[in-house]
């Protein structure tokens, strides 16, 4: 039955909903960790790789 399945699911989930404040803090923490890496920009390694993969900069083209 639907209701049985729904109840089982509910039972599995966390009963208490997280407070807004907690959610906001976790989100902030996650974003600052993430943004710190974003702020590092594009390391040379990847800019070089892109040029290398892109035929434009391929020596074969001369």
């Amino acid at each position: 039955m639907d209701t049985g399945a729904a109840r089982a699911k509910k039972h599995d989930a966390k009963p208490a909903k997280l407070g807004r404040e907690v959610q906001a803090r976790l989100g902030q923490q996650l974003r600052s960790m993430y943004d710190e890496v974003v702020g590092q920009g594009v390391p040379d390694r990847f800019a070089d790789l892109l040029s290398q993969l892109d035929n434009k900069d391929n020596k074969d083209r001369q």
Binding site: A13, K14, L18, G19, E21, V22, Q23, R25, L26, G27, Q28, Q29, L30, R31, S32, M33, Y34, D35, E36, V37, V38, G39, Q40, G41, V42, P43, R45, F46, A47, L49, L50, L53, D54, N55, K56
Partner: protein, 181 residues
């Protein structure tokens, strides 16, 4: 054939967030950079299957995510104590990268099941909509929503955060600094 300039720029512009996604996902900078590199190689090899005007970041994230998942399955088969190994790489991470303030958070993040972790990062940090995240992970929107919820609950539990508690980078940084770094 040389790549279209606009496409090339879109790929380049996506690299910083691809790296952030990869690092948050696998917890190891070197491995993350290998993932990004492999993603670029695959993307450019298959650039014809990218439809100009569609969502380039989502396309690249999908490639990275799928590659990560297949690598992860392979590794799990190869290394039985994947968890222990993973924990070790996390411990060496902070000093190496100057990420001390995120040590505890990273560790908690690493303890989440992979499907919850990726959903949380895509929605909570990469800024994708639930719909885009569902596309990237190849699942239903409702599934993403419930994974994000479970991820948040578990993180709060692991970090023991409750409303009104002191929590945050500042407190953690102070603790780490006080312990002699």
């Amino acid at each position: 054939m040389p790549m279209d300039d606009a496409v090339r720029k879109q790929i380049l512009d996506s690299i910083p967030s691809l790296r952030a996604f990869a690092i948050s996902l696998c917890g190891n900078v070197d491995r993350a950079d290998d993932l990004v590199q492999e993603t670029m190689v695959r993307a450019i090899a298959n650039i014809d299957s990218f439809q100009p005007g569609t969502n380039m970041p989502a396309w690249l994230f999908t490639i990275l995510r799928n590659h990560f998942r297949s690598e992860y399955r392979k590794r799990r088969r190869e290394v039985e104590d994947a968890d222990g190994h993973y924990a070790d790489t996390l411990k060496s991470q902070p000093e190496q990268q100057g990420h001390i303030e995120f040590g505890e958070f990273r560790e908690a993040l690493s303890q989440l099941p992979t499907d919850q972790r990726e959903a949380l990062i895509l929605v909570g940090a990469s800024g994708f909509s639930y719909e885009e995240a569902a596309q990237i992970c190849g699942c239903a929107i409702g599934t993403i929503k419930s994974r994000v919820n479970r991820a948040r609950n578990r993180l709060a539990e692991l970090l023991q955060v409750r409303d009104g508690d002191d929590f945050g980078p500042d407190e953690q940084t102070r603790a780490v600094l006080a312990s002699g770094e």
